[in-house]
Symmetry: C2
Subunit: 242 residues, 2 copies
């Protein structure tokens, strides 16, 4: 259990900042999913998580159900829950929804963006590029996510953000799988275009940049790469990503 990753990951509830155990477990699992530490196909057991985090099964069950609701996990007929596997069909749907939702979110964020935000976004983008250059997968995934969400959260936090988060939760384990098996080198992004559009307040250009960023990011997986990934997920019964 050498993968105790995050800031708030002290011991079970050492922090005690008016946060419930269930909420804590939920955030732990969500973070692990978003950073791809749960590989698609991996089955998640209730007592396993409970003992891993040092809590009772009750709050774990609630956290798992929340994640199932958000489509980050799925339940099978056996009542077992696991990280959903990716299919081409689902991948296409996710891309389409990402385009639809994230262009809308970006457009809505545009009026609220100011110089400080732009500066912050540029810094994040620079860190993304840096992570790509150095081949730092974890840092790339973190910054990439931070960049996108830093835009979207400006406009409409209440309605759009949860939906986009749900899509990312479905997307991320697969993304992690791809970048760790195919490499981070082929990653292309349109962050610079998006930032310029944001600065010029150009709605159309922003939409185009976001759409291109989503579509080109992983849209061009070849047939053989799909088969390769399929083979990887097939043997995934356990064991988190390296």
């Amino acid at each position: 259990m050498l993968d105790s990753v995050d800031s708030t990951a002290l011991h079970p509830r050492a922090d005690n900042g008016a946060i419930t155990v269930q909420e804590w477990v939920y955030r732990q699992l969500k973070e692990r999913i978003l950073t791809g530490q749960f590989v698609p196909g991996r089955s998640v057991t209730l007592r396993g998580i409970a003992t891993m985090l040092g809590v009772s099964p009750t709050p774990v069950r609630e956290a798992l159900r929340r994640l199932v609701s958000e489509r980050a996990l799925e339940v099978h007929g056996n009542r077992r829950v696991s990280v959903p596997k990716m299919t081409r069909r689902k991948f296409d749907d996710l891309c389409a929804v990402r385009v639809s939702l994230e262009t809308l979110a970006a457009e809505r964020a545009m009026p609220h963006v100011d110089a400080d935000h732009l500066e912050r976004l540029r810094r994040l983008d620079a860190e993304v590029d840096e992570a790509v250059d150095n081949g730092e997968i974890n840092r790339y995934l973190h910054r990439h996510r931070e960049f996108h969400f830093s835009i979207y959260e400006l406009g409409s936090a209440e309605v759009l953000m949860p939906l986009i988060e749900s899509v990312w939760l479905q997307f991320s384990p697969f993304l992690r799988l791809v970048v760790s098996h195919i490499g981070v080198d082929y990653i292309v992004d349109r962050h610079a275009d998006a930032l310029n559009a944001l600065e010029r307040q150009d709605h159309a250009a922003l939409r185009f940049a976001i759409e291109a960023d989503v579509r080109e990011g992983l849209g061009s997986l070849t047939e053989s790469e799909w088969r390769d990934l399929d083979a990887v997920t097939r043997q995934a019964g356990d064991a988190p990503a390296p």
Copy 2:
């Protein structure tokens, strides 16, 4: 408790079709929310639901958390959960997301629609009109929902449907409030246009019809109507809709 509404609402788990109590509770509450039996602002207590449905608090808590995840309910700082109140801001966001998601879903459904589906949709639309003419609010809400979802479920069930459902869960209590306080007479829909576009396989016309249906449906609430609805929800501590 004279509002035991639905088909599957026998006694607690008299059916026993390999369905968990938690799932049953979830569906019960979801149905009640979608049909507007929980008015915005109403606070929902755990033990209250538990005794109402004749089960223990445990599965109720899980069902509530699922609904919170789907934004059908919200938790306050007090840990109390309630049906969220609608704001103009949120309403606008919901409309924009509905347009974005549902036009996409309709477009994706188009290739899969055949004569049987069209016939079924026409029948549903006729029932919607009939319900409007007779002022049958409950029937209207049911058929209206059935009409839309019958289109969307054709195309992409896996990714899009849950998102659309989440939006409808946020939308429906308010919709019920509106039609029951302002009347069902002013309701306009573009179902006929959508059906024609579907038949002609006209993507652009379909998108336009869906967008118009969403935007015109409740988009034109006047200032005084908003105030009126606000006054209604303000006094909503308890008591389901009539």
